[in-house]
Structures are given as structure tokens and as C-alpha cells.
């Protein structure tokens, strides 16, 4: 079984986000970038499936600037076999277009399992897996917290849904998107980081895909969230309860 893992390069989750003064977006210059944490979980899951002998090859795909190669290398150091970068001068590509690009890669690679994070922590869209499954007409198992291969060509996937856990059975080929509880990604060891440097990354220019990728959604401006008004420090529990009763009118 061949697995395609899609990874996105995003601002590291520990970085404090600063909105640009011209409101065109957020500051990305000299900011630490990392693999989207949910995609890291996807790489880890693919590697675990390979260690169990279920997956035989792991292809790591990223779409974006040349620098996304580093993100692919991270995936290769964790256990991916080879990489594909679809190089684009523009990082802000609508999820629908991302879905169309990944589909193009799938048409060539024919993966049995496409696994990716449930959302990227930059645009927080939570769409790409669902879009891709729809375009490929493959079943989708989103927000996975457990993936088990059955003896036939199906997976049982437990999904984190509001109010509980839902398990569905999907036929392979399928699309799985990962949630937090699925696994804890490993740190790549130094020897594996060195080995990853030898692994192959195919680079394709986005224009070579002959897709119509016009933007559907314009970002008019990006603003800071409304600030919370400064709070007060209360001297004791009594005044806290009093404030909650009389000012917040909650208790």
C-alpha cells in the first residue's frame, strides 16, 4: 500500500502572530517556520503503518515556496521515502485549488492512502482532505484518532466528533485527516536527518500542471482581534464571587 502524506509549511505554533501594519496579512519575515502540527501527526501515522508492514512506500508532498523543501525533509527524516514539491511563487492558494493540485499528483502516483492534517494552523480552513476526497471520489475519514487496517481492503477509522467518537469503515483508496489524539509524532534522530538529505525530492513548477487556479476568495484585510479590556486583580474570593454575581451577572 502506497501512502501520500501532504504537509504544509506554516508559522511555528509557538510564535506570537503579528498582523502587518498595512493589514495585508501577518508578518512572516524572520519568523520560525515549521511543519503544520496536524501534518506531523499524518507523517507519524504513515510511518507507523509502514513499520507495521501495511504501508510499503511513503511519499511526502508539499505545495508552496522553494523553502517548503525543508518541510518535506523533516517528513523524510521522520521516515518518508521520497518527496514531491509543487513549487509556487504564491503561498496563498485557496484550498479548492490545493485539492486540485493534489488530485493531479494522485492521478500520477496512485496512492492507496492519502493522509494529511485536519487543518493547517495558519488559515484554519479544515477543508483540504474533504475537497480532495470529493475530487477523487474516494471515501473520507476526517478527524481520525485511530486508524486500523482490516483484513480486506478497508480501514476502520475512529473519528473525533463533537460529543464522542464515531467509527466508520472506509474502502481503500481513501483520504484520512488526522486529529490530535491519533499519535505523538517522533523527533527525527540525527542519523535519520542525515539520511534524509540523500532522499529524492522531485520539484515541479505549479504552471506545469496546466490547471486553472484562479483565486475565488480575496483577502480584503487582516486585522488584530478586538482587544480585551484590561482586567483587575481582586483581593480575595469574596470579591471575586461578588464581581461575578454583580458585574458579570453570571452566578
Amino acid at each position: 500500500m502506497k501512502a501520500l502524506v501532504c504537509v504544509k509549511r506554516v508559522i511555528d505554533y509557538n510564535v506570537r502572530i503579528r498582523v502587518k501594519t498595512d493589514k495585508s496579512g501577518v508578518e512572516k519575515d524572520n519568523v520560525k517556520m515549521s511543519m503544520n502540527p496536524f501534518d506531523e501527526i499524518a507523517v507519524e501515522e504513515a510511518v507507523r503503518l509502514k513499520e507495521k508492514g501495511i504501508v510499503t512506500e511513503i511519499v511526502i508532498l508539499s505545495i508552496g515556496l522553494e523553502s517548503s523543501q525543508e518541510t518535506i525533509r523533516t517528513g523524510l527524516a521522520m521516515g518518508g521515502d521520497r518527496g514531491i514539491l509543487i513549487k509556487s511563487p504564491d503561498e496563498d492558494i485557496d484550498p479548492l485549488n490545493i485539492g486540485k493540485i493534489i488530485k493531479k499528483v494522485c492521478d500520477k502516483e496512485n496512492p492507496d492512502l492519502i493522509i494529511l492534517g485536519k487543518q493547517a494552523i495558519d488559515d484554519d480552513c479544515n477543508q483540504t482532505g474533504q475537497i480532495l476526497a470529493t475530487l477523487l471520489k474516494y471515501p473520507q475519514a476526517t478527524f481520525a484518532s485511530k486508524v486500523e487496517k482490516n483484513t480486506d481492503d478497508t480501514l476502520n477509522v475512529t473519528r473525533e466528533v463533537d460529543g464522542g467518537l464515531e467509527t466508520i469503515k472506509v474502502k481503500i483508496p481513501c483520504v484520512v485527516t488526522t486529529d490530535l489524539r491519533l499519535n505523538e509524532p517522533r523527533y527525527a534522530s540525527l542519523p535519520n536527518i542525515m539520511k534524509a538529505k540523500q532522499k529524492k525530492i522531485d520539484i515541479l513548477d505549479i504552471n506545469e500542471l496546466s490547471l486553472d487556479l484562479k483565486k475565488r476568495v480575496e483577502i480584503l484585510e487582516v486585522n488584530d482581534p478586538p482587544e480585551r479590556k484590561p482586567g483587575i486583580v481582586v483581593p480575595d474570593i469574596d470579591s471575586l464571587v461578588n464581581k461575578l454575581k454583580n458585574e458579570a451577572k453570571i452566578l
Binding site: Q127, I131, V161, T167, I219, P225, I232, A248
Partner: protein, 312 residues
């Protein structure tokens, strides 16, 4: 402009998220309609009929739709939309909507707008990005706007109406590549984190899992949900699904009580839409104080039992 609301329910009752989504739809125009898909829907439809703002409710009642399998729901919705002139399709931004709505958008070849928090006009919306650390104002150029709605940002609609109902029959067959296996509902007497009015969360300051019992008594008295910071989850004090923050659950209760939580960026990102934030922390320099409406500098092991008593 004409909006269709995709109803979230459990075949017996309507989820609150639906009522908030109806309110959002009513801000686009007076032409708001609802579509409910499921099985044995009569009680749910009776409940939904009371919603204000709706012109009409369409329902498809089929055994195959008894479980919310996105593939089957999507096929029905696309078939339904075919001979209609809806300009907007709104779904709650719950796991139900997040799973389903991008499929609808893809079938229509439009770009979905996720998780809107404000509607400026029929094409322009606000939505949080970077876990709410920035707000994007976005404009859709697509002919149909497929949108998911963050329900905590819109009041639920009133329920004193009596809306017309139309039964839609469907002969569509179900998708054979996906099957429902089971649903394991979290058995808790407490409300869900994402819909709770009051949340009390503990951080590393609690020191171990047993000490979370100190929060339980207070949670019981307030009818509150219980959560935790990532530090507390990583330390193994409580299960992962308690985690509130950028990589955990994003919450917006009326009251959020943070106990022994320092207030890391990634935690703040998950709670900043709360109406009131209260913190109890012995370190007065902790960043959480900057984000709290009311802060108490105190040793939580002394403060919590007193607070519980005062709530009698």
C-alpha cells in the same frame, strides 16, 4: 439572495448550532430556508418548525440517512440544490459541518468560507485565522457562497414560529465505500467543552491528576465543563480531549475559569472569545492576568475549597 441552512441534529432533536446558523442566514436576506436530512425525523422536524426567520423547511427522511455519512448527505444536498436558486449554503462549523460542507462546495466548484464570525454583506465575511490571533475580512467571488458558521458568534434564533414543511422524496442509493460502524458518546454528566456556558480548566499548577478533583466540586455547582491546558495534558494529568487551546479545543463560554494556568500563547488563542475570563494563580507575573477580567493572586490549594464553599 436566498440561503439554505443545512440542519445539524441527532434525528431526535435539533442541535443549538443549527439555531445560531439560522440567525446567521437571516442576516443575508429574509429568504432563509432549511434542509434536514435523516431518519425518523418527525420530532426533530416538529422542533425545527418553531424556528423564527425560516420561510420553509425541506426534509428528506430515509433509513440510509440515519447516520451522518458525509458522502450520502452531500449527494442528497447536491441533488436538492440542482433545480433551486440558492445563493448561499450555510452549515454550522461543528465537526458535522466541517466534515460535510467542503464536499458540497467542491461539488459546486466553489471555495468554501470556513468558520465565519461576522457577516458584512452577502459576499463579505470575517473569519478568524491563526487560531483567532488575527481576523481576516474575506470576499467571495463565487456564484454560490458555501459557508460554515461559528455558532458561538451568533445568538440562537427564537422559537415561536410555525414554519411550512415539505417532504422531499429521494431514490438516491448510498455510497458503498463508506459504512458506519458505531458511535461512542462521551458519557459525562458535564456539558461539552465547545458548547458549555461555563468552563473551569486546570494547568500545571494543579501538580497532578488527582488534584483536578478540587475543580470537580466547583464544576458541579456551576454546571461547568472541565478543561485543561496543554501543559497539564502533556504531563498526563488528564486525557487529551480536555485540552483547550490552539491545538486543542477553541472555546467561547460566558465564563472561563483558569486555575494554575500560566497563559501560554497557544492556550490564550483557544479562550480569548470567552465573555469573562477569571484566573487564579499564585504567580502574579503570569501572563494569564493580562487576559483576565478578574484575577486572584492566591495559592489554588487554599483558594479552591473556599470558592467551592462560597458557591453554596
Amino acid at each position: 439572495m436566498k440561503t439554505l441552512v443545512i440542519v445539524e441534529h441527532n434525528n431526535e432533536s435539533i442541535k443549538q448550532t443549527t439555531y445560531s446558523t439560522i440567525t446567521a442566514a437571516s442576516k443575508i436576506s429574509d429568504e432563509a430556508y432549511a434542509l434536514i436530512l435523516g431518519h425518523n425525523l418527525s420530532t426533530a422536524v416538529d422542533e425545527l418548525k418553531k424556528s423564527n426567520h425560516l420561510k420553509k423547511i425541506y426534509f428528506v427522511d430515509k433509513e440510509d440517512l440515519g447516520k451522518p455519512i458525509a458522502e450520502n448527505f452531500c449527494d442528497e444536498i447536491i441533488k436538492f440544490l440542482k433545480d433551486k436558486d440558492f445563493t448561499h449554503v450555510f452549515t454550522p462549523s461543528s465537526t458535522f459541518g466541517k466534515n460535510l460542507s467542503p464536499k458540497i462546495a467542491t461539488e459546486l466548484d466553489v471555495q468554501q468560507i470556513s468558520d465565519i464570525t461576522n457577516i458584512l454583506d452577502g459576499h463579505t465575511f470575517e473569519r478568524p485565522i491563526y487560531a483567532g490571533n488575527a481576523i481576516a475580512k474575506v470576499k467571495s467571488n463565487d456564484p454560490i457562497k458555501v459557508v460554515t458558521v461559528r455558532s458561538t458568534c451568533f445568538e440562537p434564533c427564537k422559537l415561536d414560529s410555525n414554519v411550512d414543511v415539505e417532504n422531499i422524496s429521494s431514490e438516491l442509493s448510498t455510497n458503498e465505500s463508506v459504512n458506519f460502524v458505531n458511535y461512542d458518546e462521551s458519557k459525562s454528566d458535564r456539558p461539552e467543552l465547545t458548547s458549555a456556558k461555563i468552563i473551569i480548566s486546570g494547568g500545571r499548577g494543579l501538580q497532578n491528576g488527582d488534584n483536578f478533583k478540587l475543580l470537580e466540586g466547583i464544576a458541579d455547582k456551576l454546571g461547568a465543563a472541565m478543561g485543561a491546558s496543554r501543559a497539564a495534558v502533556d504531563a498526563g494529568f488528564v486525557p487529551n480531549d480536555w485540552q483547550v487551546g490552539q491545538t486543542g479545543k477553541i472555546v467561547a463560554p460566558d465564563l472561563y475559569i483558569a486555575v494554575g494556568i500560566s497563559g501560554a500563547i497557544q492556550h490564550i488563542a483557544g479562550i480569548k472569545d470567552s465573555k469573562f475570563i477569571v484566573c487564579i494563580n499564585k504567580d502574579e507575573e503570569a501572563p494569564i492576568f493580562k487576559f483576565s477580567d478578574f484575577g486572584l493572586v492566591a495559592d489554588l490549594f487554599e483558594a479552591l475549597p473556599v470558592l467551592e464553599k462560597k458557591l453554596q
